[in-house]
Amino acid sequence: MMMLDEPLDRPRPISVAQRLLTGLHLDGPLLFGILLVSSFGLFVLYSAGGQNSDLLVRQAIRIGVAVFVMLIIAQIPPKILRMWAPWLFVIGIVLLALVLIMGEVGKGAQRWLDIGVLRFQPSELMKVAAPMAAAWYLHERPLPPKFSETLVLAVLAVALPAALIARQPDLGTALLIAASGLIVILLAGLSWRLILLSGVLALAAAPLLWFNMHNYQRQRVLTFLNPESDPLGSGYHIIQSKIAIGSGGVFGKGWLNGTQAQLEFLPERATDFIFAVLGEEFGLLGLCSLLLAYLFIVLRGLYIATQAQDTFGRLLAGSISLTFFVYVLVNTGMVTGLLPVVGVPLPMVSYGGTSMVTLMAGFGILMSVHSHRKLVAQ
């Protein structure tokens, strides 16, 4: 792992594969982790999707498209990304406002923007644009941020898109985007005292949030606290998902043999609840392997962040890696009944296209940050 990250100015025999990776601005270990999880995901999806090969092909194409996007973004130097950051953010805000004004309503919320051939979720763009904007903003400023207008502005820049998305309403994504921006601020060195203080403030604001929630959101929180209270509604998901995972045991029931999944007791099994299918068919071993693979990706991302050469790259790479972990944590927490049901897919495994492209775009940025370093020792 360390080998690839040593400066290349020392003459040393390198393989064709390494030369190819370097030429394409890719990071080998990260790419390995991504491909490992994605292919494992396809394997699980085949079972979760009712052994539907069409579904599999569509997902494989999506992975291909997403990897291509990652490849493109990896070619863009971080300096250019930094220049684009504020504009991407502004475009994202405008699109979010448009969604609220004229977006198409799907499944009870307004999230989609229909531009002719393409239906597009601007909140996905924001998942990348918000941490980019925060990193761009803090890049120029002296760090660590003190309690001043610098900090207030940074927090506001994070809160604005989150608020717009919460209005759609899509509380889950809003919180994730807020998290990605806040992670940037934390990484920039916000003092622990202020972090603690805002934590206390957030707890105090919780009742306020409750009164501003939509009925279905409150329902989810209530159902989370007591799933048995609504065995047919949203509680059904959690009950069935826990049964699926629990009955998988240590070794699982075997691929394609999960009764919960195959007999269709488990809802949303190809999308948000695919982790439960994995747990039922591959048991504790399967789940822990996947978690370790995720952990590998996150730690590699953090390592890339520490090697970055400017503040922008550092903050952005750190935020992308940690936010990726937050996605994993929220999905697995939800499926195992540790967190309320929010519609967050399992990264790179759940069926679906948009979020996959966003994730890979994030990895593309990581690779760009890592591969465009100037090869001079500091």
């Binding site: 069409d54 009955s247 045991g249 190809a270 747990g279 789940l287």
Partner: protein, 618 residues
């Protein structure tokens, strides 16, 4: 502060510390999730294994049967009939588009409807069934049944579907049910509506949704690996919705619709003693069954594009100048404020001019009516008399008084979407016109308000309510369509008591008699405008005719010359109540482009009153 410089080395060190903290947190949280997995998969393995084995049991929602709707005499207006429908569970279908296309080829779906179906599919969770087609014929059921294996995830289901035995009769009062939409779900409790496919969209079906819907039930069923039901284990039966009885009299409704047949317009009949709506007609109508059966895109398009706008509820939402039907109320205002006395005469020259102006406000009778009293002025519908009276009253007095008749605001009928109309005043004009020069109230506008023209706009319901106020001499009730609700389980009936509105106080109760006498003259006097329509009546009628000018016609509408001509004709209006001595029915009739109020609208009102009174008063 601003001069604080970037300290790159310090920054980097701080960042490293933060990343390490982040990495440690990540590892800790991953371990925490793993512990949870151990908890579920190792410590509680036995428990969940048992649950999983027992998980051949599925819970299903049982939608309640919707309550019935009866007319006042217990005749069923809305019921539920079994019917076959084609349903799809999207997540079980391999190729949704391919299956839909194949169903079109089989002649079971129309290509026009595919867009709607795709939208329905997208807007629901994947495991919920989506109805593709309602009301399959036996032959269509057979056609699908032989090819069922080709369509996994699509099946035929027998469901109860709302049926309106009289089709379009009373549809604008009754309303209809349609598929539960996304916006409906914002309003309704999703738990209560698990399994319910249809909900009231408009009219009584909408207003009484809570009563009609009932309470959802559940059952536990044993299913095999394919999910087919083998056995029912437990059942918590749904409670059917309550039955709703309307004040509507079906026989009268049929008579009123027949009398108005072939015309565009509205008839509203109210019992002035309690505010009960006896008939509510808006024509043309449409077949409510179209909506409960999942209206096809083409049918809906046809209804929307029809130049006669059948979906438009004229009775509640049509805005018409009341024309001369306003005169009794204006006359009463004159008496109340002492602007006139019943015996005073006004000389009618056939036109009226404002002092200092040469503009002639014309009477409908060019040669004039000569000297007329209030009685004559109502009976012969003399415009000049009311021009002068309106000027004496002033617009604001008129406004305040006419508001007591239910004009200018909603009557508060117990079904939604009613319009309030316009009752102009100086203040109204100030608030509703943007340009300053348009905000000035002109005396000429007062004059034409006195004969029910100008800004004044009323719905047929308001006209009927105004008539009811006159009939009851000031004691009106809130108009209601729902008489009672009966809980099918307990058999308990809740009646809605008539809700009296504030009594209209008039300076001398005898003023009512003066005005009503004028309306009686209209029908039974030697020169009354409505005397032809009252010929040989078995009871005495008080009425008033009116015509309203058609102000404008939609610019973009295309009509051929003959048609255009027809649509430029005046609207014909008529209001009446009977019997004069003890009023039991108050009617308003509006015939769009009917021409003459007395010639076209009055006979319709007579037919309605005959039907009701000859049956009920003997």
């Amino acid at each position: 502060m601003a001069t604080r410089l970037k300290d790159h080395w310090r920054e980097q060190r701080l960042f490293l510390a933060r990343v390490i903290a982040g990495g440690v947190t990540v590892v800790a949280l991953t371990l925490f999730v793993m512990l949870r997995l151990v908890d579920l998969q190792v410590l509680n393995f036995e428990h969940f294994s048992e649950l999983s084995l027992g998980n051949r049991v599925r819970i299903e929602a049982l939608p309640p049967t919707r309550g019935l709707i009866y007319d006042h005499n217990g005749i069923v207006l809305a019921e539920n009939l079994p019917s076959y429908q084609l349903e799809m569970i999207p997540e079980q279908v391999v190729d949704i588009d391919g299956s839909l296309d194949a169903l079109v080829e089989l002649g079971l779906l129309e290509a026009d409807d595919l867009d709607r179906i795709r939208t329905d599919i997208r807007r629901q969770p994947n495991f919920r069934p989506v109805a593709l087609r309602y009301r399959l014929s036996e032959e269509e059921v057979a056609r699908f049944a032989v090819r069922r294996q080709q369509f996994p995830g699509i099946d035929i289901q027998a469901r109860l579907i709302r049926h309106y035995p009289y089709g379009s009769v009373g549809v604008h009062a009754l309303g209809y049910v349609g598929s539960v939409s996304q916006s409906d779900l914002q309003r309704l409790d999703p738990g209560d509506y698990a399994g319910t496919t249809h909900t009231g969209k408009i009219g009584v079906e909408f207003a009484q949704e809570d009563a009609l819907h009932g309470t959802v039930g559940y059952r536990q069923v044993l299913v095999n690996a394919q999910g087919r039901i083998l056995q029912e284990l437990e059942r918590d039966s749904p409670l059917p919705g309550a039955d709703v009885t309307l004040t509507l009299d079906l026989e009268l409704q049929l008579a009123a619709e027949a009398a108005l047949a072939g015309r565009r317009g509205s008839v509203v009949a109210i019992d002035p003693r309690n505010g009960h709506i006896l008939a509510l007609v808006s024509q043309p109508g449409y077949d409510a069954n179209l909506f409960s059966a999942g209206i096809s895109t083409r049918d809906y398009h046809d209804l929307q594009e029809d130049p006669d706008i059948p979906l438009f509820n004229r009775a509640l939402r049509g805005l018409y100048p009341p024309g001369s039907t306003i005169k009794p109320a204006v006359g009463l205002a004159g008496l109340h404020f002492g602007a006139i006395a019943p015996w005073q005469r006004v000389y009618c020259l056939g036109y009226y001019t404002l002092p200092g102006s040469s503009h002639r406000f014309r009477d409908w009778k060019p040669q004039g009516h000569g000297p007329v009293t209030l009685n004559d002025a109502i009976a012969q519908s003399c415009d000049v008399y009311f021009y002068e009276l309106a000027l004496k009253l002033g617009i604001d007095n008129m406004h305040d008084f006419l508001a007591g008749f239910g004009l200018g605001h909603r009557t508060g009928i117990d079904v939604p979407a009613e319009k309030g109309g316009t009752l102009p005043s100086r203040e109204w004009k100030r608030e509703n016109f943007r340009r300053r020069e348009d905000q000035v109230w002109f005396p000429g506008e007062t004059l034409i308000t006195g004969i029910g023209q100008g800004y004044l706009q009323t719905t047929p319901l308001q006209l009927a309510q105004m008539t009811a106020v006159i009939a009851s001499r000031g004691q009106a009730y809130r108009p209601t369509l729902v008489e009672s609700v009966t809980d099918p389980a307990s058999g308990e009936t809740t009646r809605f008591e008539p809700e009296p509105l504030p009594v209209m106080e008039v300076s001398d109760p005898a003023h009512w008699d003066a005005v009503i006498q004028g309306m009686v003259e209209v029908m039974h006097g030697p020169r009354g405008t409505g005397r032809a329509a009252a010929a040989d009546a078995a009871y005495r009628i008080a009425g008033k005719s009116g015509t309203a000018q058609v102000v404008n016609i939609a610019q973009d509408a295309k009509y051929d010359a003959e048609e255009l001509d027809e649509r430029l004709r005046d609207h014909a209006l008529f209001i009446a109540f009977a019997p004069v001595e003890d009023p039991a029915i108050a009617v308003s009739v509006v015939v769009e482009n009917g021409g003459s109020g007395s010639g076209v609208a009055a006979p319709i009102a007579r037919a309605v009153m005959d039907n009701y009174l000859l049956r009920n008063i003997q």
